[in-house]
């Protein structure tokens, strides 16, 4: 699938990055170090967007700059954030950006579901004449219906009979 999206929608970075922020005790960064982090992160995001093949080549630098700026705003005081957390956050935003663009160009993976259920199968039972006790039961039944039992019943009526 070509992910080169020449008609990419204009992006407003408002995506959450909280899940990528570490809870470790923050390191204190000097302005020089902060600048170094920023440069490294910017280059990383540029490479990420390039390799994603979703963002047009001529806007990659601008997009990367917006990603990093967005992360700076989100994370607030960069003195409290390590380089690796800064990168992780920026990549998270870049990945969400790539996903948003891809959503516009991807074909439908599956259509909308119309859920239903299959009618439940009937349990498997052997035919009546193969079930245990069938023939014995049949023989008993025949005996009960025979003239002998009817005769016996007439000779010796139940005590509850009128």
């Amino acid at each position: 699938m070509s992910l080169d999206n020449s008609t990419a929608p204009v992006w407003t970075p408002d995506l959450s990055v909280s899940s990528f922020v570490s809870t470790r005790p923050p390191a204190v960064n000097t302005p020089a170090v902060r600048s170094e982090h920023r440069e490294e992160t910017l280059r990383l995001v540029q490479r990420y967007l390039r390799e994603s093949r979703t963002v047009k080549a001529d806007v990659i630098d601008r997009e990367a700059e917006r990603v990093v700026a967005h992360v700076e705003r989100r994370l607030g005081d960069c003195q409290l954030v390590t380089a690796i957390e800064f990168k992780r956050s920026a990549l998270g935003v870049a990945a969400e950006r790539v996903d948003a663009i891809a959503a516009a160009v991807f074909p439908s993976v599956v259509p909308l579901e119309k859920p239903t259920t299959m009618a439940e199968a009937q349990a498997v039972h052997a035919v009546r004449w193969l079930r245990p006790g069938f023939w014995a039961g049949l023989a008993t039944q025949r005996f009960k219906q025979s003239g002998i039992t009817r005769l016996a019943a007439s000779v010796r009526p139940s005590l509850t009979d009128e």
Partner: protein, 660 residues
């Protein structure tokens, strides 16, 4: 009485009368050899059953051949136009399980191209229903789906869904589709991973099922095509030369109570939803539990509900691929064997139609006859040996009983071989039925007959083994069918068939000791077993298969003039081959983990498929630790599937890999 019932009555009557006469003759034979031994008495019911089985098959083949001679047609692609297609959309289901994605998607592309030529692509939605468990194959499927979707543009719709848990195997896979998307389609065409169907046939199937609201399943018999090994070409030729004869006979026998073979068929979705949920068989696996061979049962359930199950013998354009080696064929048979043996519990189950019971029983006998045949042969040898050592008069060997025995043998062989002759006669009557001309066809029949005589004892041993394994409780693993051409090495052939050779030597020694005069009679059986190693090796040879093709032998129509859908399939495979040479050689798992575009692709497919399974937190920590210390390539295969199933973890690892 309608024509089908009359035909059934005649076939049953002929089979019974012939069996009674033959069994009586057999009784004369064993009585004539100096009294009846108890061992010989045991052979009588076996003889009756085996003789009835071959007589029934012979009857179907003979009537099928006669019907084809009179009709004179050959199943071709349906020649109707798009007008016959209803406005209803039809789903085309392609269930896959660790199959080659290139081949599967090339097939889909070919069918869509063919449908587009008929201006009908918009009427069919293709669903690749994946039950794949191998992470690499799974990711290949995702790439192949994305690539095909891009290539097709707006031409056709191909959807991809992977089930995280393959509950109830293929039947469960289809049921899952029906429950999620089935309401959107009145009909579904079920294919196999290696199936191909021409557009005109698919359109005609939809047309027929739309016009007759009582048709529940319409099965189009598939023709094996596209293979080059000698073994595969023998099967392809046999299927094309004799298949129509048997299928036509079976269709006349079954009428509207036909059978379903699991693929290359169209099904009425609502009827399937209402009536075809599979029961769980009482008892434990392998004979109880989940039903493996679902197709026969689904057909029986559909018939029970009052729908028709028809066989469209007049339609061509339905293709599949066959195993290319003897061992692969046996692996497939083992799965079918256990599935069919389970049907013993359904033969006498409540509520099924008589013909469905017959289908179940014949499915069982298709495998059970092999051990019965071996037992019959063994008991005959033992009986002859006992008789030989107890008989005082040697002249009994040449008594009248021997003449009857000879006649019985000749009749049995005739019942087995005459359908092959019917094929030759059919070609003489209708030369257009043979792709290779009359002489070459007759020669091909001869080659196939010799091969089948040699292969029969090997297959009988395989089937006996499978039956015994199933009865003794050994369960079958759901293994993927080997669909690529694979030429066996001598070492592989020796490893796989040494046991058969040993069995052949033992049989030969036993016969030589017990009854040397019977050796020539048993030579086809012992010969096949003794030569099983070279036979298996030669049968897998692509060079030999193609050599015979160059000589115009074992040709099938599709090798001479392939249908358009086959041509499209071949060109799609060639394109796929050229793309494969350009792509990254690293395992796809690594590529998906590192490449942002592939990562997004996987995430979107997972989200859409509702297929996310949360990963065990301990495994997540382990995966992260390995990734950070050694890289993506070091993540153990045991964790890869779990990672891919949890798209959130997969995304986190992807970002970690980039930060690293």
């Amino acid at each position: 009485m309608d024509r089908t019932h009359l035909f059934r009555g005649i076939v049953i009557m002929v089979t019974l009368v012939a069996t009674v006469i033959a069994t009586n003759c057999y009784f004369v034979v064993i009585r004539g050899g100096g009294g009846i031994q108890w061992v010989e008495m045991l052979t009588v019911p076996l003889f009756a059953l085996l003789f009835a089985w071959i007589t029934f098959s012979f009857c179907l083949a003979t009537v099928g051949a006669a019907s084809l001679v009179l009709a004179g047609h050959r199943g071709g692609e349906a020649s109707h136009q798009r007008e016959s297609l209803t406005t209803a959309r039809t789903a085309v289901l392609v269930p896959v399980y660790n199959e080659s994605p290139e081949r599967v998607f090339a097939g889909i592309q070919a069918m869509i191209q063919d449908l587009a030529d008929h201006d009908a692509a918009s009427a069919f939605d293709f669903y690749v229903l994946s039950d794949t468990t191998d992470p690499e194959v799974w990711l290949q499927e995702e790439v192949a789906w994305a690539r095909l979707s891009e290539e097709l543009g707006g031409t056709g719709k191909v959807f991809y869904r992977r089930r995280p848990r393959n509950v109830a195997r293929k039947a469960g896979n289809i049921a899952d589709f029906c429950e999620r998307w089935g309401q959107g389609y009145p009909f579904m065409i079920v294919l196999d991973a290696d199936s191909l169907m021409s557009a005109s046939t698919m359109i005609e199937m939809v047309s027929r099922i739309s016009q007759d609201s009582k048709i529940g399943i319409l099965q189009v018999p598939p023709t094996p095509v596209g293979r080059n090994s000698l073994f595969a070409r023998l099967q392809q030729f046999a299927a094309q030369a004799y298949g129509p004869i048997y299928v036509q006979g079976f269709s006349l026998w079954a009428g509207d109570e036909g059978n379903y073979w699991g693929h290359n068929a169209i099904i009425r979705v609502q009827a399937f939803l209402d009536h075809c949920d599979l029961p769980v068989l009482p008892g434990k696996a392998p004979l109880g539990g989940e039903i493996l061979s679902h197709d026969f049962v689904e057909a029986a359930l559909m018939l029970r509900a009052g729908y028709k199950v028809q066989l469209a013998t007049d339609l061509g354009g339905s293709y599949e691929e066959c195993p290319t080696t003897l061992a692969d064929y046996a692996i497939r048979d083992q799965r079918w064997c256990q599935g069919n043996l389970q049907h013993t519990k359904l033969v006498a189950a409540e509520g099924f139609r008589a013909l469905s019971r017959f289908h179940f029983a014949s499915g069982v006998l298709a495998f059970a006859t092999a051990p019965l045949w071996i037992a019959f042969t063994f008991l005959c040898i033992v009986g002859a040996a006992v008789e030989r050592h107890s008989a005082s008069d040697a002249t009994t060997v040449f008594s009248s009983a021997s003449k009857i025995a000879l006649a019985l043998f000749a009749v049995s062989m005739a019942f087995l071989l005459l359908p092959k002759l019917w094929s030759v006669l059919l070609v003489i009557r209708h030369p257009s039925r043979a792709a290779d001309g009359r002489i070459a066809h007759a020669l091909s029949v001869l080659i196939e007959t010799v091969a089948s005589v040699l292969l029969s004892p090997i297959m009988a041993c395989f089937h006996s083994w499978f039956v015994l394994a199933a009865l003794s409780g050994v369960n079958v693993r759901w293994s993927t069918q080997q669909r690529d051409e694979h030429v066996l090495t001598w070492r592989e052939a020796a490893r796989q068939f040494a046991g058969f050779t040993l069995f052949g030597i033992t049989s030969l020694a036993l016969i030589a000791w017990a009854m040397p005069s019977l050796l020539p009679w048993f030579s086809p059986m012992t010969g096949g077993l003794l030569l099983s190693i070279p036979i298996a090796k030669l049968a897998s040879s692509v060079t030999l298969g193609q050599g015979l093709r160059a000589w115009g032998l074992l040709l099938i129509a599709e090798e001479q003039t392939p249908a358009q859908v086959i041509r499209y399939h071949q060109s799609a495979l060639r394109r796929g081959e050229s793309v494969r040479h350009r792509i990254d050689r690293r395992p796809l798992f690594e590529q998906f983990l590192l490449d942002p575009a592939l990562n997004v692709l996987h995430g979107r497919i997972q989200d859409a498929s509702n297929a996310i399974i949360a990963m065990n937190p301990a495994d997540v920590c382990e995966a992260k630790a390995v990734l950070m210390s050694d890289g993506a390539h070091a993540i153990p295969p045991s964790l890869r599937r779990a990672i891919l199933q949890d798209s959130q973890v997969f995304q986190q690892l992807h970002l970690e890999a980039w930060v690293r």
